[in-house]
């Protein structure tokens, strides 16, 4: 066989494989959206769920998902940022950093149900936080931390060494170089990483079932005192998220329109994650343009 035919066969195979991946993805997305989109309505997105009757919505679950996401990000982002800066900018290559990196690697491949069970035993039971948004946010932090640290570290890596030298050669300290030159330059790519990991956190179910719980008490959206049990801001209340809701109604839902609700919820989830992804790209580009020519 001559090299030319070989080349053609190789390219053909690669196109085929890539096409297959795209096809599977489109089929999945198409199925979810086609069966889910017709269920969507303002009522569906805002109404509370009903346990036994038709016509329930996912308003509370949707809100819980966002609230939990924001809390989890507020906790995990500063830690991940600090860890990434330390690992990439300060740490020398020795057994301590190797150990930290290995730990991060292992943590990132931990099955999320294990993270959930750990969260249940530690936060819910041991620390007596109960099934609560806070327990869920901590569990999600454990789930999210390794990925976010890796992604921020990768963002820092994309900034050329010459930028660091440039900063130092101007008489900036190392810290000033990092905070005033490197981080601003890395913001767009850090932001992209944060939003993408937000998408993963948003769709996470297994880590939340035993930590944030599977019940969604009705919320009073006029009560913003975080100490009231029906307040949306109360971090100590149990909070079923959208992803957990899908899992629950599929396994034990007894409302007559369970299938429709599950399809609708799936579509909402997928749409939200799609929006996250596109927003990440758009914002990353916009921000880079603004920062680089402000």
């Amino acid at each position: 066989m001559n090299p030319k035919t070989q080349n053609k066969i190789a390219i053909g195979t690669l196109y085929g494989v890539a096409g297959l991946v795209v096809l599977i993805l489109l089929a999945l997305l198409g199925y979810i959206l086609v069966s889910g989109l017709p269920q969507l309505s303002w009522h569906f997105l805002t109404a509370p769920a009903k346990a036994f009757l038709k016509g329930g919505g996912v308003g509370v679950q949707l809100y819980n998902s966002f609230y939990l996401l924001i809390l989890a990000m507020l906790i995990s982002f500063p830690i991940a940022l600090g860890a990434a800066i330390y690992l990439y900018e300060y740490a020398r290559d020795n057994w301590v950093t190797t150990t930290i990196r290995t730990a991060i690697e292992i943590l990132s491949s931990l099955p999320s149900v294990v993270v959930g069970l750990f969260g249940f035993l530690f936060f819910v039971v041991k620390l007596r936080l109960g099934f609560s948004i806070l327990s869920g946010a901590f569990a999600l932090t454990f789930f999210n931390l390794p990925l976010l640290t890796r992604s921020i570290e990768d963002s820092l890596r994309t900034i050329d060494l010459s930028q660091r030298e440039g900063g130092l050669a101007l008489g900036l300290s190392r810290w000033e170089t990092i905070t005033r030159v490197i981080l601003p330059a890395a913001v767009p790519s850090i932001l992209t990483g944060v939003i993408l990991s937000a998408g993963r956190v948003f769709g996470e179910a297994a880590a939340l079932i035993y930590t944030a719980g599977q019940s969604a008490p009705a919320l009073d959206f006029t009560d913003w005192n975080p100490f009231n049990i029906s307040s949306p801001l109360n971090p100590m209340r149990p909070a079923e998220t959208l992803a957990v809701h899908i899992w629950k109604i599929n396994s034990e839902g007894i409302m007559p329109d369970a299938k429709a609700i599950s399809s609708g919820s799936s579509a909402v989830l997928v749409l939200a994650i799609l929006i996250f992804n596109f927003a990440a790209r758009y914002l990353g580009k916009r921000l880079y343009k603004r920062l680089t020519s402000a």
């Binding site: 030298e165 050669a169 101007l170 008489g171 005033r180 680089t292």
Partner: protein, 252 residues
């Protein structure tokens, strides 16, 4: 002969086990341009980077000997690298403007040092860019990204950025090797403008460049300083055979 601003005595530098600089004795007088020439890997860039402690960034580097800037030991335990680098600035081989506007690039050092007075900053930007001979080309788009400029303009903005911190010594590590001939000659003209106000030390592998702009030239080979003299003498009448061989293109 004006006073010596920077002195190096018996400077050795090791990358791990490998000795990259083998006892360099070299002094610089105030103002003027000194060129460091020599074949690739001869240690000229390594030497340059010891002068403002940029080699600190590289792990496993050991340095012995003394470098004194105005009588102060740069490698004394109490030496403040941040202060040193404010007084001994550096321009690199690849233009490395920060991904911000031209204006922000130039005032970066000052702004971080806490200067807020807009008028003063504006004045510094104009003065530095004029000194770096790039003002006329960029004055109408100071607030656009420095990354949009040509390589030669970027490099002059980088020079302006160093000037804005008002250093005494400017180190340049092959500043034109990544640039086209026109940009290179603009940089050379810039340096000739600056030679009365600053002590300039430039590493170059372009011999014509050294002969065009340098007052003094130092020839390095295999980690040793072979010869240093007035540029004219190095090129017309070198004392060492190795220098003559290198200058006349017999190797390197």
């Amino acid at each position: 002969m004006s006073e010596e601003i920077l002195t190096t005595q018996d400077l050795h530098l090791y990358y791990g086990e490998k000795e990259a600089l083998k006892g360099i004795n070299l002094n610089f007088t105030d103002k003027g341009i000194t060129a460091l020439i020599g074949p690739s890997g001869c240690g000229k860039s390594t030497y340059l980077r010891t002068l403002n402690r940029m080699n600190d960034l590289i792990p496993n580097v050991t340095i012995t000997g003394t470098i004194k800037f105005k009588g102060q030991d740069l490698y004394a335990p109490s030496a403040d690298t941040v202060q040193i680098r404010k007084e001994i600035g550096m321009v690199f081989q690849q233009p490395n403007p920060f991904p911000f506007s031209i204006y922000d690039n130039v005032i970066y050092g000052l702004r971080i040092a806490g200067e807020k007075d807009k008028e003063k900053l504006d004045a510094v930007v104009e003065k530095s860019l004029r000194q770096a001979a790039v003002w006329d080309e960029v004055k109408d788009h100071l607030h656009e990204s420095a990354l949009a400029l040509s390589g030669g303009q970027q490099q002059r903005v980088c020079i302006a950025r160093v000037l804005a911190v008002s250093p005494e010594i400017i180190l340049l590590d092959e500043p034109t090797s990544a640039l086209d001939p026109v940009s290179s000659s603009q940089i050379e003209a810039t340096l000739l403008n600056l030679r009365h106000d600053y002590t300039i030390i430039i590493v170059t592998h372009n011999l014509q460049q050294a002969s065009r702009i340098a007052d003094r030239t130092a020839f390095f080979m295999n980690g040793e300083l072979i010869e240093v003299d007035q540029t004219k003498n190095i090129f017309m009448n070198p004392a060492q055979k190795q220098t003559e061989d290198y200058i006349s293109g017999r190797f390197g």
